[in-house]
Protein backbone atom coordinates (compact mmCIF):
# COMPACT_ATOMS: atom_id res chain seq x y z
CA UNK A 1 0.00 0.00 0.00
CA UNK A 2 1.14 3.55 -0.55
CA UNK A 3 2.15 5.96 2.17
CA UNK A 4 -0.29 8.32 0.58
CA UNK A 5 -3.25 6.37 1.90
CA UNK A 6 -1.81 6.27 5.41
CA UNK A 7 -1.13 10.00 5.18
CA UNK A 8 -4.67 10.72 4.07
CA UNK A 9 -6.08 8.53 6.83
CA UNK A 10 -3.85 10.26 9.36
CA UNK A 11 -5.06 13.67 8.21
CA UNK A 12 -8.64 12.45 8.36
CA UNK A 13 -8.17 11.24 11.93
CA UNK A 14 -6.54 14.57 12.84
CA UNK A 15 -9.50 16.47 11.43
CA UNK A 16 -12.04 14.13 13.01
CA UNK A 17 -10.55 14.58 16.46
CA UNK A 18 -11.09 18.32 16.61
CA UNK A 19 -13.43 19.24 19.41
CA UNK A 20 -16.24 21.71 18.90
CA UNK A 21 -17.07 24.34 21.55
CA UNK A 22 -20.45 22.66 21.99
CA UNK A 23 -18.78 19.31 22.84
CA UNK A 24 -16.52 21.04 25.33
CA UNK A 25 -19.39 22.89 27.01
CA UNK A 26 -21.35 19.68 27.38
CA UNK A 27 -18.39 17.82 28.81
CA UNK A 28 -17.50 20.71 31.14
CA UNK A 29 -20.60 20.31 33.26
CA UNK A 30 -19.91 16.59 33.57
CA UNK A 31 -16.32 17.22 34.63
CA UNK A 32 -17.37 19.89 37.14
CA UNK A 33 -19.86 17.51 38.69
CA UNK A 34 -17.23 14.76 38.77
CA UNK A 35 -14.77 17.03 40.59
CA UNK A 36 -17.45 18.02 43.12
CA UNK A 37 -18.32 14.38 43.77
CA UNK A 38 -14.64 13.62 44.27
CA UNK A 39 -14.33 16.51 46.73
CA UNK A 40 -17.40 15.41 48.64
CA UNK A 41 -15.95 11.91 48.88
CA UNK A 42 -12.68 13.28 50.22
CA UNK A 43 -14.41 15.47 52.75
CA UNK A 44 -16.58 12.55 53.89
CA UNK A 45 -13.45 10.48 54.35
CA UNK A 46 -11.94 13.23 56.49
CA UNK A 47 -15.15 13.58 58.45
CA UNK A 48 -15.02 9.89 59.26
CA UNK A 49 -11.29 9.60 59.81
CA UNK A 50 -10.75 12.70 61.94
CA UNK A 51 -12.88 11.68 64.95
CA UNK A 52 -11.33 8.21 64.90
CA UNK A 53 -7.85 9.71 64.90
CA UNK A 54 -8.83 12.18 67.62
CA UNK A 55 -10.23 9.41 69.84
CA UNK A 56 -7.09 7.34 69.30
CA UNK A 57 -4.82 10.24 70.23
CA UNK A 58 -6.95 11.19 73.23
CA UNK A 59 -7.12 7.65 74.63
CA UNK A 60 -3.39 7.15 74.11
CA UNK A 61 -2.68 10.43 75.90
CA UNK A 62 -5.06 9.46 78.70
CA UNK A 63 -3.44 6.04 79.04
CA UNK A 64 0.01 7.60 79.10
CA UNK A 65 -1.11 10.19 81.64
CA UNK A 66 -2.62 7.62 83.98
CA UNK A 67 0.24 5.17 83.61
CA UNK A 68 -1.88 2.56 81.87
CA UNK A 69 -0.17 2.80 78.51
CA UNK A 70 2.39 0.09 79.34
CA UNK A 71 -0.28 -2.45 80.23
CA UNK A 72 -2.34 -1.51 77.20
CA UNK A 73 0.68 -1.87 74.93
CA UNK A 74 1.54 -5.22 76.44
CA UNK A 75 -2.04 -6.29 75.88
CA UNK A 76 -1.89 -5.21 72.25
CA UNK A 77 1.48 -6.87 71.79
CA UNK A 78 0.20 -10.06 73.35
CA UNK A 79 -2.64 -10.06 70.87
CA UNK A 80 -0.19 -10.40 68.01
CA UNK A 81 2.69 -12.35 69.54
CA UNK A 82 1.36 -13.95 72.69
CA UNK A 83 3.51 -17.06 72.59
CA UNK A 84 6.91 -15.73 71.76
CA UNK A 85 7.16 -12.60 73.83
CA UNK A 86 5.14 -13.34 76.89
CA UNK A 87 4.34 -16.96 77.34
CA UNK A 88 7.33 -18.62 75.77
CA UNK A 89 9.61 -17.56 78.61
CA UNK A 90 7.08 -18.33 81.27
CA UNK A 91 7.51 -21.15 83.70
CA UNK A 92 5.39 -24.25 83.60
CA UNK A 93 2.12 -22.81 84.92
CA UNK A 94 1.67 -20.54 81.93
CA UNK A 95 2.42 -23.12 79.27
CA UNK A 96 -1.24 -23.47 78.34
CA UNK A 97 -2.28 -22.02 74.97
CA UNK A 98 -3.23 -18.36 75.07
CA UNK A 99 -6.80 -17.25 74.90
CA UNK A 100 -8.28 -13.94 73.78
CA UNK A 101 -7.28 -11.03 75.91
CA UNK A 102 -9.56 -8.52 77.50
CA UNK A 103 -9.64 -5.22 75.64
CA UNK A 104 -6.79 -2.99 76.64
CA UNK A 105 -8.90 0.11 77.31
CA UNK A 106 -10.82 -1.00 80.40
CA UNK A 107 -7.81 -2.74 81.79
CA UNK A 108 -7.10 -1.77 85.39
CA UNK A 109 -3.86 -0.34 86.48
CA UNK A 110 -1.15 -2.96 86.41
CA UNK A 111 -0.09 -4.16 89.77
CA UNK A 112 3.58 -4.25 90.28
CA UNK A 113 5.67 -5.36 93.12
CA UNK A 114 7.80 -2.63 94.63
CA UNK A 115 11.31 -2.40 93.31
CA UNK A 116 13.74 -4.36 95.38
CA UNK A 117 16.13 -2.46 97.56
CA UNK A 118 19.69 -2.27 96.38
CA UNK A 119 21.71 -5.39 96.92
CA UNK A 120 23.62 -3.95 99.85
CA UNK A 121 20.38 -3.79 101.82
CA UNK A 122 19.81 -7.45 101.29
CA UNK A 123 20.42 -9.35 104.46
CA UNK A 124 22.86 -12.20 104.40
CA UNK A 125 21.33 -14.87 102.26
CA UNK A 126 22.07 -17.51 104.81
CA UNK A 127 18.45 -18.46 105.23
CA UNK A 128 18.15 -18.99 101.52
CA UNK A 129 21.36 -20.86 101.30
CA UNK A 130 20.34 -23.04 104.12
CA UNK A 131 16.92 -23.54 102.76
CA UNK A 132 16.22 -26.69 100.83
CA UNK A 133 16.29 -26.37 97.06
CA UNK A 134 12.60 -27.10 96.86
CA UNK A 135 10.94 -26.58 100.15
CA UNK A 136 7.40 -27.53 100.88
CA UNK A 137 5.17 -25.02 99.13
CA UNK A 138 3.24 -24.25 102.27
CA UNK A 139 6.38 -23.08 104.02
CA UNK A 140 5.93 -19.72 105.63
CA UNK A 141 8.03 -16.70 104.79
CA UNK A 142 10.10 -17.20 107.88
CA UNK A 143 12.66 -18.92 105.68
CA UNK A 144 12.59 -16.22 103.08
CA UNK A 145 14.98 -13.36 103.01
CA UNK A 146 13.53 -9.97 103.60
CA UNK A 147 14.91 -9.01 100.24
CA UNK A 148 13.26 -6.70 97.84
CA UNK A 149 10.05 -8.53 98.13
CA UNK A 150 8.26 -6.53 100.65
CA UNK A 151 4.70 -5.71 100.14
CA UNK A 152 3.04 -3.40 97.79
CA UNK A 153 1.60 -0.33 99.46
CA UNK A 154 -2.02 -1.04 98.67
CA UNK A 155 -4.17 -3.06 96.37
CA UNK A 156 -4.93 -1.35 93.10
CA UNK A 157 -8.39 0.11 93.15
CA UNK A 158 -8.86 -0.44 89.46
CA UNK A 159 -8.84 -4.15 89.98
CA UNK A 160 -11.83 -3.73 92.26
CA UNK A 161 -13.86 -2.68 89.28
CA UNK A 162 -12.86 -5.57 87.12
CA UNK A 163 -15.71 -7.80 86.17
CA UNK A 164 -14.09 -10.61 84.31
CA UNK A 165 -13.19 -13.91 85.86
CA UNK A 166 -9.55 -13.46 84.94
CA UNK A 167 -9.33 -10.16 86.68
CA UNK A 168 -11.08 -11.59 89.70
CA UNK A 169 -8.34 -14.21 89.90
CA UNK A 170 -5.76 -11.45 89.61
CA UNK A 171 -7.47 -9.50 92.36
CA UNK A 172 -7.49 -12.52 94.65
CA UNK A 173 -3.80 -13.25 94.07
CA UNK A 174 -2.99 -9.59 94.61
CA UNK A 175 -4.84 -9.57 97.94
CA UNK A 176 -3.11 -12.74 99.15
CA UNK A 177 0.26 -11.36 98.14
CA UNK A 178 0.12 -7.74 99.22
CA UNK A 179 -2.62 -7.55 101.83
CA UNK A 180 -2.65 -10.96 103.51
CA UNK A 181 1.10 -11.34 102.93
CA UNK A 182 0.71 -15.07 102.48
CA UNK A 183 3.28 -16.02 99.81
CA UNK A 184 2.31 -19.67 99.71
CA UNK A 185 -1.32 -18.92 99.05
CA UNK A 186 -0.40 -16.07 96.75
CA UNK A 187 1.86 -18.39 94.75
CA UNK A 188 -1.04 -20.74 94.13
CA UNK A 189 -3.26 -17.84 93.23
CA UNK A 190 -0.74 -16.40 90.76
CA UNK A 191 -0.40 -19.82 89.18
CA UNK A 192 -4.15 -20.03 88.94
CA UNK A 193 -4.36 -16.65 87.24
CA UNK A 194 -1.56 -17.50 84.80
CA UNK A 195 -3.19 -20.78 83.95
CA UNK A 196 -6.56 -19.15 83.37
CA UNK A 197 -5.18 -16.20 81.47
CA UNK A 198 -1.88 -17.19 79.82
CA UNK A 199 -2.09 -14.33 77.33
CA UNK A 200 -3.70 -11.82 79.67
CA UNK A 201 -2.80 -8.20 80.09
CA UNK A 202 -1.13 -8.76 83.47
CA UNK A 203 0.86 -11.87 82.71
CA UNK A 204 4.17 -10.08 83.18
CA UNK A 205 3.15 -8.65 86.55
CA UNK A 206 1.73 -11.98 87.68
CA UNK A 207 4.87 -13.85 86.69
CA UNK A 208 7.07 -11.37 88.48
CA UNK A 209 4.95 -11.49 91.63
CA UNK A 210 4.97 -15.27 91.44
CA UNK A 211 8.76 -15.19 91.38
CA UNK A 212 8.73 -12.92 94.43
CA UNK A 213 6.57 -15.48 96.21
CA UNK A 214 9.13 -18.16 95.40
CA UNK A 215 11.87 -15.96 96.83
CA UNK A 216 9.85 -15.40 99.99
CA UNK A 217 9.26 -19.11 100.31
CA UNK A 218 12.97 -19.75 99.97
CA UNK A 219 12.60 -21.78 96.80
CA UNK A 220 15.83 -20.39 95.50
CA UNK A 221 16.33 -22.43 92.36
CA UNK A 222 12.77 -21.97 91.18
CA UNK A 223 12.88 -18.29 92.04
CA UNK A 224 16.03 -17.85 89.99
CA UNK A 225 14.52 -19.73 87.07
CA UNK A 226 11.40 -17.59 87.26
CA UNK A 227 13.36 -14.35 87.51
CA UNK A 228 15.86 -15.18 84.79
CA UNK A 229 13.62 -14.20 81.80
CA UNK A 230 13.00 -10.82 83.49
CA UNK A 231 16.71 -10.33 84.11
CA UNK A 232 17.37 -11.20 80.46
CA UNK A 233 14.92 -8.53 79.43
CA UNK A 234 12.83 -10.93 77.39
CA UNK A 235 9.58 -10.30 79.22
CA UNK A 236 7.35 -7.47 78.04
CA UNK A 237 10.19 -5.44 76.62
CA UNK A 238 12.41 -5.47 79.71
CA UNK A 239 9.81 -5.32 82.47
CA UNK A 240 11.50 -5.30 85.91
CA UNK A 241 14.78 -6.20 84.29
CA UNK A 242 17.05 -4.40 86.76
CA UNK A 243 15.07 -5.51 89.80
CA UNK A 244 15.20 -9.11 88.65
CA UNK A 245 18.98 -8.92 88.15
CA UNK A 246 19.50 -7.51 91.60
CA UNK A 247 17.32 -10.21 93.12
CA UNK A 248 19.21 -12.95 91.30
CA UNK A 249 22.49 -11.44 92.45
CA UNK A 250 21.20 -11.43 96.00
CA UNK A 251 20.05 -15.02 95.70
CA UNK A 252 23.42 -16.09 94.35
CA UNK A 253 25.45 -14.26 96.96
CA UNK A 254 27.20 -16.54 99.38
Amino acid sequence: MSDDFLDRATKALRKEGEASPEDLRRLRSRVTEGVRVQQRRRSRLWTAAFPIAAVLVATTAWAAGTGRLGAAMRGVRALFVPETTVVATAPAPVAAPPKPLPLPVPVPEPVEAPPPPPPESVPPPAPIASAPAAPIPSAKPSVAPSVAVEPEPAPTPAVEDAGTADLALYKRAHKLHFVDKDPAAALGAWDEYLKASPGGAFVAEARYNRAICLVKLGRKAEAKAALQPFADGTVAGGYRKDDARKLIEALEAP
Partner: protein, 198 residues
Protein backbone atom coordinates in the same frame (compact mmCIF):
# COMPACT_ATOMS: atom_id res chain seq x y z
CA UNK B 1 19.48 27.00 39.35
CA UNK B 2 16.49 28.07 41.40
CA UNK B 3 13.10 28.89 39.91
CA UNK B 4 13.58 32.60 40.51
CA UNK B 5 16.99 32.51 38.79
CA UNK B 6 15.51 30.81 35.75
CA UNK B 7 12.76 33.40 35.59
CA UNK B 8 15.31 36.19 35.52
CA UNK B 9 16.38 35.12 32.04
CA UNK B 10 12.84 35.03 30.61
CA UNK B 11 10.92 37.80 28.85
CA UNK B 12 8.43 39.62 31.06
CA UNK B 13 5.30 38.08 29.51
CA UNK B 14 6.71 34.60 29.94
CA UNK B 15 7.54 35.32 33.57
CA UNK B 16 3.99 36.51 34.09
CA UNK B 17 2.55 33.42 32.36
CA UNK B 18 4.72 31.10 34.40
CA UNK B 19 3.81 32.87 37.66
CA UNK B 20 0.16 32.56 36.75
CA UNK B 21 0.61 28.84 36.02
CA UNK B 22 2.41 28.40 39.34
CA UNK B 23 -0.48 30.03 41.16
CA UNK B 24 -2.95 27.86 39.31
CA UNK B 25 -0.99 24.74 40.18
CA UNK B 26 -0.91 25.72 43.84
CA UNK B 27 -4.69 26.07 43.77
CA UNK B 28 -5.01 22.70 42.04
CA UNK B 29 -2.86 21.15 44.74
CA UNK B 30 -5.25 22.58 47.31
CA UNK B 31 -8.04 20.84 45.37
CA UNK B 32 -9.92 23.97 44.28
CA UNK B 33 -12.71 23.00 41.91
CA UNK B 34 -12.57 26.42 40.26
CA UNK B 35 -8.91 25.87 39.39
CA UNK B 36 -9.85 22.61 37.66
CA UNK B 37 -12.46 24.58 35.71
CA UNK B 38 -9.85 27.11 34.61
CA UNK B 39 -7.50 24.37 33.44
CA UNK B 40 -10.39 22.73 31.63
CA UNK B 41 -11.29 25.94 29.80
CA UNK B 42 -7.74 26.36 28.65
CA UNK B 43 -6.73 22.83 27.75
CA UNK B 44 -9.79 20.62 27.39
CA UNK B 45 -9.96 21.14 23.62
CA UNK B 46 -6.49 19.72 23.13
CA UNK B 47 -7.08 16.87 25.57
CA UNK B 48 -10.41 15.90 24.03
CA UNK B 49 -8.94 16.01 20.52
CA UNK B 50 -6.10 13.76 21.60
CA UNK B 51 -8.48 11.39 23.35
CA UNK B 52 -10.70 11.12 20.27
CA UNK B 53 -7.75 10.45 18.02
CA UNK B 54 -6.28 7.91 20.36
CA UNK B 55 -9.44 6.07 21.33
CA UNK B 56 -11.38 6.57 18.08
CA UNK B 57 -14.68 6.60 19.90
CA UNK B 58 -16.63 9.63 21.00
CA UNK B 59 -18.11 8.26 24.23
CA UNK B 60 -14.88 6.58 25.36
CA UNK B 61 -12.92 9.74 24.59
CA UNK B 62 -15.27 11.82 26.74
CA UNK B 63 -14.96 9.28 29.56
CA UNK B 64 -11.20 9.56 29.30
CA UNK B 65 -11.24 13.38 29.42
CA UNK B 66 -13.59 13.24 32.40
CA UNK B 67 -11.17 10.94 34.18
CA UNK B 68 -8.21 13.19 33.38
CA UNK B 69 -9.78 16.29 34.93
CA UNK B 70 -11.37 14.55 37.90
CA UNK B 71 -8.05 12.99 38.87
CA UNK B 72 -6.11 16.18 38.17
CA UNK B 73 -6.07 17.50 41.79
CA UNK B 74 -4.39 14.32 43.01
CA UNK B 75 -2.23 13.83 39.91
CA UNK B 76 -0.88 17.39 40.02
CA UNK B 77 1.34 16.40 42.96
CA UNK B 78 3.71 14.76 40.49
CA UNK B 79 3.72 17.72 38.11
CA UNK B 80 7.16 19.10 37.29
CA UNK B 81 7.06 22.88 37.05
CA UNK B 82 9.46 22.81 34.10
CA UNK B 83 6.98 21.10 31.77
CA UNK B 84 3.76 22.54 30.39
CA UNK B 85 0.43 21.83 31.95
CA UNK B 86 -1.03 20.72 28.61
CA UNK B 87 1.73 18.16 28.15
CA UNK B 88 1.06 16.95 31.69
CA UNK B 89 -2.67 16.59 30.98
CA UNK B 90 -1.97 14.58 27.84
CA UNK B 91 0.37 12.35 29.81
CA UNK B 92 -2.41 11.71 32.34
CA UNK B 93 -4.66 10.81 29.43
CA UNK B 94 -2.03 8.39 28.11
CA UNK B 95 -1.76 6.76 31.53
CA UNK B 96 -5.51 6.31 31.79
CA UNK B 97 -6.08 5.42 28.14
CA UNK B 98 -5.47 1.70 28.19
CA UNK B 99 -8.86 0.45 29.28
CA UNK B 100 -10.72 3.12 27.30
CA UNK B 101 -8.87 2.05 24.15
CA UNK B 102 -9.69 -1.59 24.85
CA UNK B 103 -13.35 -0.80 25.42
CA UNK B 104 -13.56 1.24 22.24
CA UNK B 105 -11.74 -1.46 20.23
CA UNK B 106 -14.18 -4.09 21.51
CA UNK B 107 -17.09 -1.90 20.48
CA UNK B 108 -15.61 -1.36 17.03
CA UNK B 109 -14.93 -5.06 16.60
CA UNK B 110 -18.52 -5.88 17.57
CA UNK B 111 -19.84 -3.28 15.14
CA UNK B 112 -17.66 -4.69 12.37
CA UNK B 113 -18.87 -8.23 13.13
CA UNK B 114 -22.50 -7.30 12.86
CA UNK B 115 -21.93 -4.97 9.95
CA UNK B 116 -23.38 -2.06 11.87
CA UNK B 117 -20.92 0.70 11.38
CA UNK B 118 -21.74 3.76 13.44
CA UNK B 119 -23.98 5.90 11.31
CA UNK B 120 -22.52 8.76 9.37
CA UNK B 121 -24.07 12.12 9.35
CA UNK B 122 -26.43 11.70 6.40
CA UNK B 123 -26.31 15.38 5.59
CA UNK B 124 -22.46 15.48 5.32
CA UNK B 125 -20.97 16.37 2.02
CA UNK B 126 -19.18 13.58 0.19
CA UNK B 127 -15.78 14.76 1.29
CA UNK B 128 -16.78 14.62 4.93
CA UNK B 129 -18.13 11.12 4.54
CA UNK B 130 -14.87 10.01 2.95
CA UNK B 131 -12.89 11.58 5.74
CA UNK B 132 -15.00 9.86 8.37
CA UNK B 133 -14.49 6.53 6.63
CA UNK B 134 -10.75 7.04 6.38
CA UNK B 135 -10.50 7.98 10.05
CA UNK B 136 -12.57 4.94 10.99
CA UNK B 137 -10.41 2.64 8.92
CA UNK B 138 -7.31 4.00 10.60
CA UNK B 139 -8.87 3.59 14.06
CA UNK B 140 -9.65 -0.05 13.25
CA UNK B 141 -6.09 -0.59 12.10
CA UNK B 142 -4.80 1.14 15.24
CA UNK B 143 -6.73 -1.39 17.31
CA UNK B 144 -4.23 -4.01 16.13
CA UNK B 145 -1.28 -2.14 17.62
CA UNK B 146 0.09 -2.40 21.13
CA UNK B 147 -0.96 0.63 23.18
CA UNK B 148 2.57 2.08 23.29
CA UNK B 149 2.86 2.06 19.49
CA UNK B 150 -0.64 3.43 19.15
CA UNK B 151 0.16 6.33 21.49
CA UNK B 152 3.42 7.03 19.67
CA UNK B 153 1.67 7.09 16.27
CA UNK B 154 -1.18 9.34 17.42
CA UNK B 155 1.11 11.78 19.18
CA UNK B 156 3.80 11.92 16.49
CA UNK B 157 1.85 11.53 13.26
CA UNK B 158 -1.71 12.59 13.99
CA UNK B 159 -0.94 15.34 16.49
CA UNK B 160 2.39 16.17 14.84
CA UNK B 161 4.29 16.53 18.09
CA UNK B 162 8.06 16.35 18.22
CA UNK B 163 9.63 13.12 19.39
CA UNK B 164 11.11 15.05 22.31
CA UNK B 165 7.68 16.20 23.44
CA UNK B 166 6.26 12.70 22.98
CA UNK B 167 9.14 11.28 24.98
CA UNK B 168 8.25 13.66 27.79
CA UNK B 169 4.58 12.68 27.65
CA UNK B 170 5.10 8.94 27.64
CA UNK B 171 8.15 9.01 29.92
CA UNK B 172 10.40 7.10 27.52
CA UNK B 173 13.61 8.01 25.67
CA UNK B 174 13.24 9.70 22.29
CA UNK B 175 14.90 6.78 20.53
CA UNK B 176 12.28 4.45 21.99
CA UNK B 177 9.53 6.73 20.74
CA UNK B 178 11.01 6.73 17.23
CA UNK B 179 11.30 2.94 17.27
CA UNK B 180 7.69 2.58 18.37
CA UNK B 181 6.62 4.95 15.62
CA UNK B 182 8.55 3.02 13.00
CA UNK B 183 6.94 -0.28 13.98
CA UNK B 184 3.53 1.35 14.28
CA UNK B 185 3.65 2.71 10.73
CA UNK B 186 4.85 -0.58 9.32
CA UNK B 187 2.05 -2.50 11.01
CA UNK B 188 -0.55 0.06 10.01
CA UNK B 189 0.45 -0.22 6.35
CA UNK B 190 0.13 -4.00 6.60
CA UNK B 191 -3.23 -3.78 8.32
CA UNK B 192 -4.66 -1.32 5.86
CA UNK B 193 -3.38 -3.46 2.94
CA UNK B 194 -5.01 -6.54 4.47
CA UNK B 195 -8.30 -4.68 4.48
CA UNK B 196 -7.82 -3.78 0.82
CA UNK B 197 -7.33 -0.11 1.54
CA UNK B 198 -4.62 1.44 -0.58
Amino acid sequence: MSVSDSWATLPLELVSARASQTGLIERLRRGEARAVGEVYDEHAGAVLAFARRLVGDEAAAEDLVHEVFVTLPSAIKSFQEASSLRTFLVSIAVNHARHHVRAAARRRAAMARFGEEPSNDATSPEEDVMRVDLARALSLALDELPIEQRVAFVLCEVEERTSREVAEIVGAPEATVRTRLFHAKRKLREELSKRGLR
